[in-house]
Symmetry: C2
Subunit: 332 residues, 2 copies
């Protein structure tokens, strides 16, 4: 592991992308998002993505020079076309639009189409909460989870992220994917040739498997069994059908450089807590969180990310050597 | 069991409530909702509720003569005060408001406060979907689920309901509570003196228990472990904190006739699929559902309710004798 400064990493990632057919503004947006994930300890959405992103921008699977566009077909409805570019510039645009619209409308939704991997869903919700809004952020991803009773993966791992502004604290952030475990953990086991516990995944014939490679060809099991599968369907409808995007089983890989663009979708909702609660929201939320924290065994969701950020603020974060060298060679 | 006609049951339930200090319009709204639950096979939210509802209206815990009021503090934000009455008249009002507002705004949210048990959450989402809207409906309820790592129940069982309009079919409806099993199943086991499986609940000291009575004094386990507990917190924030309502651990029982009103809250979101998808929603949704149904083992969520409704349309439904006699005696 190597110690590196967040600012230096942002410059390095942006340079690697600019050298890979990506416009500077887009490269900066992507670099901000990936380094923020790395800082928070979400390495599966962090620097490890850079080589794959660069390869996709080089092959043209991702249009690194895309300019996302926003329309507002109704006063409370924002439609953002990511134009087959990286997701983060489109997400930035959607956040700016929602932050302008939601306080006056009370509620506003954004549908992002022609999009790509959007990283840590909780970060996008958190940014809306930093602007005083209660936010729900959903996305779909290439096929990973089968409908309950089925063997063929149709839905993505389909994260649900939620954030709420707090009085005198950073926002409360909830961020979870609807697979029982992150797909990355199965990919790591497959690379190492290790077995996975039963209950994580099915093979391609729908049988429970402990073989990580067979699991990657099959389907991941949802958290919460049938209920989790139903939630994955709900997210697929909101993030893909409602945004006129590719469904999980139509979307190409977020990793491979070949093939057509994935064209997945994202859904974002922003609510003005002052309008809906008549000003009571902060007191109600703090009363709830205080009751939770009254028990010593309870931590609020998202607490670890705050600890990780504090560590990074001291100047440097630990980065995997091999990944860093790959990014450096791309930036040269 | 006795065979009874839905129309006759609606009249009977309304009469029982009118004789229990409830205004005719409110009694009709409640009777519609409880009989609809009974028809769908959701007996825990059906006729079994009538004696408890009547007792609460008689004691004044529920104001049977309350008139719910709606305000619109922002163009896309509706606030409904259920005024310590039954939930269903307030829900009716919120649905009417959202159905008027969401098509022009693109997105609209309703916060219902000073509310009570709102029965089958999926029914309310379904009514919005019948008006062409994509709907999310959440509610909190008296304390049932502990935060992850904790032993004290703070959140309700906190249902998530979602509905989407379909082309040529009744709406797709997803409706699930965030406890691993319905609290009613533990109540039935306690009444019969039966054990419950491990993994359903904790006793009041936070230990796993198979004793149904101990489970009712303790906490129910969430579906999906830590992720389910995080979703229960999210619903608690949206349905209670955002609506300026009582939190699960502040709310009085939905069953007992004594004590103050429960004052729980409900959150409803209505989205215009045409505006957000640019007209693609129906095709995208049907493509997704067709892919699901291509596998013989897969059924769409909510299918059983449609089968039950078909049976009820033939003229009569099966009703528990004891419950029916109790309601008849209240109506006399």
């Amino acid at each position: 592991m190597t110690q590196a400064s967040p600012d230096g990493l942002r410059r390095l990632v942006a340079a690697a992308l600019e050298r890979s057919n990506t416009a500077p503004a887009n490269a900066a947006s992507v670099a901000d998002a990936l380094v923020a994930a790395e800082i928070d300890g979400q390495k599966g959405h962090g620097l490890s993505r850079v080589p794959g992103y660069a390869a996709q921008a080089r092959s043209g699977k991702v249009d690194g020079r895309a300019v996302p566009r926003a329309r507002r077909p109704r006063p409370g409805a924002v439609v953002v076309d990511a134009a087959d570019g990286f997701a983060f510039p489109a997400i930035d645009l959607a956040i700016a639009e929602l932050a302008g619209v939601a306080p006056t409308q009370g509620a506003a939704a954004a549908a992002i189409r022609h999009s790509h991997h959007f990283g840590v869903a909780g970060h996008h919700a958190e940014r809306l909460a930093e602007r005083g809004l209660v936010a729900l952020v959903l996305g779909n991803s290439p096929q990973a989870i089968a409908p309950w009773g089925g063997t063929r993966a149709l839905f993505g791992t389909n994260p649900i992220a939620f954030a709420a502004p707090r009085r005198g604290h950073p926002p409360l952030v909830i961020d979870l994917s609807l697979s029982k475990v992150a797909r990355g953990r199965i990919m790591v086991a497959a690379q190492k040739g290790e077995a996975i516990p039963e209950g994580w995944a099915l093979d391609k014939d729908g049988r429970p498997t402990t073989d990580a490679k067979a699991a990657l060809d099959g389907a991941m099991l949802p958290m919460g069994d049938a209920k989790g599968a139903a939630l994955a369907l709900m997210v697929e409808i909101l993030a893909a059908a409602l945004t006129a995007s590719h469904l999980g089983f139509e979307a190409s890989s977020f990793f491979a450089a070949d093939g057509p663009p994935p064209r997945v979708g994202q859904f974002m909702l922003a609510l003005d807590p002052g309008a809906l609660s008549g000003g009571a929201f902060a007191e109600r939320l703090e009363t709830l969180l205080a009751a939770m924290l009254a028990e010593p065994g309870v931590r609020l969701p998202g607490t670890r990310r705050l600890d990780n950020r504090l560590k990074a603020r001291s100047g440097s974060i630990e980065v995997d050597d091999k990944t860093l060298r790959e990014i450096e060679s791309l930036a040269r």
